[in-house]
Symmetry: C2
């Protein structure tokens, strides 16, 4: 079995705010067809600022933005420092534009490369009663 | 800006069924610390059978398992044929074992490489009222 895979960036965050603009590179624009049939999307992005050996070697962290959190394995956190610097956000789709998407709720900096976009399907993706430790309820969402 | 990133597989699906076993490679086992504080996880995996130029060039599909679906851009489907062959499943965590995890609901074949595991946090990830097109309600969840 191969131990590595190669991701190709399909776009980038053009502007980041409450409403963010995702630019999709021309090669991939056809992949957006009919995406406005969905109200929400799952966006996978590349945490390029963390794409270095030091950050990718980190296996546990204390989530400092969440008072009371104990030391956690990185796979038990949404920390951007992790073996594969892939971030994930559920966003609301506001608008398809000529070269991309306007979305609400994307927690990614301007310039962040986009890896994938998937439609959010509650039947598969919504687990409102999933249980979490108490410390996750303080501080930011993730 | 770089146009590519490299993912390193952190584990693999050891057995696939209603309950699947995810083996985590020894290097990464410390990343699981305290993961059982969460009932559900988001698993990102590498659709290695689709990791070839033909599959990665596909930009639109007709979701055939979903009767009535029109032609959709791949970013508006969960099709495994897409520019970056990354699959995403929300799973229930049943048990931490010595070398990995037992999970329920992982839609990945035996031998599938694992890219990342993240805790499922309803505050960020659950959108029960997200709207979807009617065709998604027939056939499999994704």
């Amino acid at each position: 079995m191969s131990l590595e895979g190669k991701v190709r960036f399909i776009g980038a965050v053009e502007s980041a705010n409450e409403v963010s603009k995702i630019k999709i590179f021309p090669t991939y624009l056809k992949g957006l067809r009919n995406i406005d049939q969905f109200s929400h999307l799952i966006v996978l992005y590349w945490l390029s600022l963390r794409d270095n050996e030091d950050e990718r070697r980190i296996l546990s962290v204390i989530p400092r933005k969440h008072p009371g959190a104990p030391r956690m394995g990185v796979f038990a956190t949404r920390s951007p420092s992790r073996p594969n610097p892939i971030g994930l956000c559920v966003v609301r789709l506001l608008k398809i534009e000529d070269h991309g998407l306007l979305v609400e709720g994307l927690d990614a900096l301007e310039g962040t490369p986009i890896v994938d976009i998937k439609p959010y399907i509650p039947r598969a993706d919504a687990v409102p009663d999933a249980t979490v430790p108490e410390w996750t309820s303080h501080g930011p969402e993730t």
